[in-house]
């Protein structure tokens, strides 16, 4: 037999022993002398994190790929033995590791996905550039360099309608054009990998599973806007992503996909890593740039926009991980096939199957949460779905048919955000949720502007008062007006977005608040 | 609450109350000098530490100037009596409006650390905590501005508010009008 066992070693499965599973399987295979017939490799995220640790098996010849979850990690030898026995008896198609479960790959969770960004994630060994190259990495970069027509690339990006995947949704083509038209040869491309929303782990998944696609996207961008220097700002809380990136950058340099005269062209582009120090606000682009420069991570007013004056005062293109990772797919498929593109979501909370999924833009929330995620665990109904993290809001259950796109979510008082999607069942107190996010924003405020620094504290205290049933209707009014004030007056997106979880829950779940305000109200 | 009707012919019933404050606002009140005689013609002073002997807060008071923050159990009882029996409650001076100097003890976070600091840590060796239930009122955990305890109708800031500022508030109230307070002469703290 010839087969490959792919073990998920990304963060979630790793926390459940994925790495030791890989290790014990490799040892068992070596001890049994099966290296030539049975390959074991570590891969990035396989999708349904809630069922981890996950193991995929590609059996040759032409047996369908199988996915197994909840694998007991302790005994690799036993797993390999039972696998060999099944192979000998030609019952591989029905094999399942003892104690584990077989996951139906025909489930909508997999079938309704469209994997452009995550195409190679979970397939290739992220530490191997050879595997990435075999899967097509850097081919679009090569083509872009050969054609040497930056204007055409910008036009294609613009016409694709690709928008920033980090949360704000600014049209990527416009941003690229702005940087491209800046004079001078010293420009910088920055990849924002400071993913910090609670419940969001899309970028981590991409970086851990397929770092070369991000590097390729950055290099394409660099050639297009005329930059020679690249920086990836990644949060320190992602040690595995950092390790994978370091490996990938070194390998890409070794293979001539980064560095000078890339692929024999006149394009020079190199990438450095900058590791954040744990401040959420550094995901905001102007604060991020300050942090890269070694300064205190505080947002500064725009204009000047980074395109005019960014890192070290140079024209700077700054995009999110997922935005860059869209580029190779967009260029490979062409506008028509690429269509409206996709969005990667991390699906968590009260949902049967949580994990990372990539769906066509415009898929309804109901499809994602109920059909793909399987709804809430037994017996409960969905109350709301939170999107956009601490700057986002909640979509109530009766509006789950909303398509996930920038405008639809905005009209409901939330945002697409970076892709965190938290499902909440009917046991959830929405005031508690609002307080959680407000406490987060309070803690993460940089303290530069008054409304965010002092306003989030007052809002958090008001919410605490409400939760303690010490509030009056006047306090509720004050909560609402102070929310609007902080939203309208804060300097950066963190402060402007901080009141949104409160405003959105006040809008859709006012009864949750009223239930906490005592009836006899006059003090 | 409704504005006092300007047509009431009877003398207004005026009170002043002293909570957690230094009495400076009351001294400033006395600085009204000869206008106090006019005031006495227009109003009966029915309760006041500086102008009346009465020990219990009376009913049906029209206007009450409250000096000081709410800092102990006596203050708390009194301010509730004031609110229940007064038409127009004036937060009188910075201590009433902001907790001001008495409120500085709030930085020590709680009554116990305050008492420990004052009577033990800063004592000359033989310090002891005062304990006389029913005689010495207990400190509240924090000193609060009056409006954080009961609703307030008029704010008269100042440390202390000058006599002319006090008059600018009391005069219109006696006429049954709301005072219009703005500008540095009338609402500056300090």
């Amino acid at each position: 037999m010839k087969a490959c066992l792919r073990v998920c070693t990304a963060a979630s499965c790793r926390s459940r022993g994925g790495a030791s599973l890989q290790h014990s399987l490799s040892e068992a295979v070596a001890r049994a002398g099966l290296e030539h017939g049975l390959r074991v490799k570590g891969v990035g995220c396989l999708g349904p994190c809630s069922d981890g640790p996950l193991l995929a098996m590609d059996a040759d010849p032409k047996a369908q790929t199988q996915l197994y979850g909840s694998i007991p990690v302790a005994d690799g030898a036993q797993l390999v033995a039972s696998l060999m026995e099944a192979a000998a008896q030609h019952t591989l198609a029905h094999w399942c590791p003892a104690g584990g479960l077989r996951i139906d790959l025909n489930h909508p969770f997999f079938q309704l996905q469209r994997r452009l960004v995550l195409e190679h994630c979970g397939q290739i060994d992220p530490t191997s550039i050879e595997e990435a190259l075999a899967a097509g990495a850097y081919r679009q970069l090569e083509r872009v360099l050969q054609n040497n027509n930056p204007a055409a690339v910008i036009e294609q990006v613009r016409r694709s309608g690709l928008r920033g995947r980090g949360g704000a949704g600014y049209p990527t083509g416009l941003k690229w054009a702005a940087v491209a038209q800046m004079p001078g040869t010293e420009k910088v491309v920055v990849c924002n990998a400071d993913e910090g929303d609670p419940g969001a782990f899309m970028d981590r998944t991409v970086l851990e599973g397929d770092p070369h696609t991000v590097l390729e996207g950055m290099a394409i961008a660099a050639h297009t806007v005329g930059a020679s220097r690249g920086l990836i700002y990644v949060r320190a809380e992602y040690p595995l992503a950092i390790a994978r990136l370091r490996t990938a950058i070194a390998a890409a340099q070794g293979h001539g996909w980064l560095g000078t005269a890339i692929a024999g062209s006149r394009c020079n582009f190199d990438v450095e890593l900058r590791v954040g120090a744990g401040a959420y606000v550094c995901g905001e682009e102007t604060a991020l740039m300050q942090s890269i420069e070694g300064k205190r991570g505080m947002p500064r007013p725009r204009p000047p926009y980074p395109a005019e004056r960014g890192v070290f005062g140079l024209p700077t293109l700054i995009n999110n991980v997922e935005t860059f990772a869209n580029l190779p797919a967009l260029l490979r498929l062409g506008l028509e096939t690429y269509g409206r593109g996709t969005k990667v979501f991390s699906l968590t909370g009260h949902v049967r199957r949580s994990g990372v999924i990539e769906v066509p833009m415009g898929t309804s929330l109901r499809t994602v949460v109920e059909t793909m995620g399987g709804g809430t665990p037994a017996g409960r109904s969905i109350k709301a779905v939170q999107t956009g993290g601490p700057s986002g809001g909640c979509v109530p259950a009766h509006q789950l048919d909303t398509p996930v796109d920038y405008e639809s979510l905005q009209s409901l008082g939330t945002i697409m955000g970076s892709g965190g999607m938290v499902v909440m069942d009917d046991t959830t107190d929405m005031v508690d949720i609002a307080r959680f996010f407000m406490a987060f924003s309070r803690e993460e405020s940089c303290g530069k502007c008054v409304p965010c620094r002092a306003g989030t504290v007052q809002l958090d205290n008001l919410l605490e008062q409400i939760l303690d049933r010490r509030a009056t209707p006047e306090d509720l009014e004050q909560l609402e007006s102070l929310c609007r004030m902080v939203k309208d007056t804060s300097l950066c997106g963190l402060g402007q977005g901080a009141p949104r979880p409160v405003l959105s829950t006040l809008r859709h779940f006012r009864d949750d608040y009223l239930a906490l305000v005592p009836v006899e109200t006059r003090r | 609450m409704e504005p006092v009707s300007p047509t009431i012919p009877r003398k207004q019933r005026l009170a002043t109350v002293w909570l957690a404050g230094c009495s400076g606002c009351h001294m400033s009140f006395l600085d009204l000098d000869e206008w106090l005689l006019e005031l006495a013609q227009q109003a009966d002073i029915v309760y006041s530490p500086v102008a009346c002997d009465r020990k219990d807060y009376p009913a049906a008071v029209d206007i009450c100037l409250v000096e000081g923050g709410v800092g102990n159990t006596d203050n708390l009882v009194l301010i509730q009596q004031v609110r229940a029996n007064t038409t127009v409650l004036v937060s009188f001076g910075d201590c009433a409006v902001t907790a001001n100097i008495p409120g500085m003890r709030n930085m020590l976070e709680g009554a116990d650390p305050v008492l420990r600091r004052a009577y033990l840590e800063l004592a000359d060796g033989s310090g002891q905590r005062p304990h006389a239930p029913g005689i010495v009122p207990e400190l509240l955990e924090r000193v609060l501005p009056v409006h954080e305890v009961v609703p307030v109708d008029v704010y008269l800031p100042g440390c202390p508010p000058s006599a002319s500022r006090i008059r600018a508030v009391v005069e219109p109230l006696l006429r049954g009008e709301w005072p219009e307070l703005s500008g540095p002469d009338l609402i500056r703290f300090g």
């Binding site: 940089c446 303290g447 008054v450 504290v457 007052q458 | 409120g103 704010y155 008269l156 609402i187």
Partner: protein, 238 residues
């Protein structure tokens, strides 16, 4: 020189194209309240007091850094802005310990004046009474963090004008505070030249001359502007 004409409240203003809305308003003698802004220092747009409404723009813009545009219609004192400014001042009063009656800057304090200007006769938000400290380690000056509004004028004047960079901001959010050196006692920071510019530009009583007592601190930011002008024009004896 390229001129732009714009309308601020009821006034038509023509001003150099590289001006800010705040400069244009000053030109038209329209007072927009400011706190962190100080002529002669870089603008950081942090206090948000100078936010204005601009017709056709949904977002409020800080006048101190917003460039003028041809035909711009600016509204500086709408009821919405007035309520915002009062709330900002209440946020500042409640996050520190501002006891005007015993403050060195009483009567000469920009925060106190702004409270009057926005009509704050009391705070609708509760006072927080944070536990803050006083640094009296410097032989000439003192720093009372209770009175600090984090406008960062001291940080900027020391860095941009004196070139000593004694001050910076430490920590974050509600825990932010101005720090001397690497969070050392001010008196231990050798970089300090004892020039007193930080004291001079401080809008409140946070930075003061030792020995100043209640009401005695008179800051004069105009002296900074005179210095900047003298440096620019190389004229030291006006």
């Amino acid at each position: 020189m390229n001129l732009y004409s714009l309308r601020i409240d009821d006034h038509d203003v023509a001003i150099a194209a590289d001006s800010t809305v705040l400069q244009a308003a000053q030109e038209a003698s329209i007072a927009i309240p400011t706190l962190c802004f100080l002529e002669g220092l870089s603008a950081v747009a942090a206090c948000r007091m100078c936010l204005v409404e601009v017709s056709g723009n949904d977002t409020l813009l800080p006048a101190c850094i917003t460039p003028v545009q041809e035909g711009m219609q600016v509204h500086t004192a709408t009821p919405r802005l007035q309520d915002i400014r009062r709330t900002l001042i209440e946020l500042l009063f409640t996050e520190g310990n501002h006891v005007c009656g015993i403050c060195v800057a009483n009567g000469h304090c920009e925060l106190q004046n702004l409270a009057v200007e926005v009509g704050m006769d009391h705070s609708r938000l509760p006072y927080r009474f944070p536990d803050r400290h006083v640094d009296l380690s410097h032989p000439l000056f003192g720093m009372d963090h209770n009175r600090c509004v984090l406008c960062t004028r001291c940080v900027r004047v020391c860095d941009e004008v004196e070139g000593a960079h004694v001050w910076d901001v430490g920590w974050r959010g509600e825990h932010c505070r101005i720090i001397a050196g690497l969070e050392e006692p001010w008196g231990a920071v050798e970089a300090c030249t004892h020039c007193g510019k930080c004291v001079e530009v401080c809008p409140t009583g946070a930075l003061f001359h030792r020995g100043d007592t209640t009401d005695e601190k008179h800051s004069d930011p105009a002296r900074l502007q005179a210095l900047m002008q003298a440096r620019q024009q190389q004229r030291w004896n006006p």
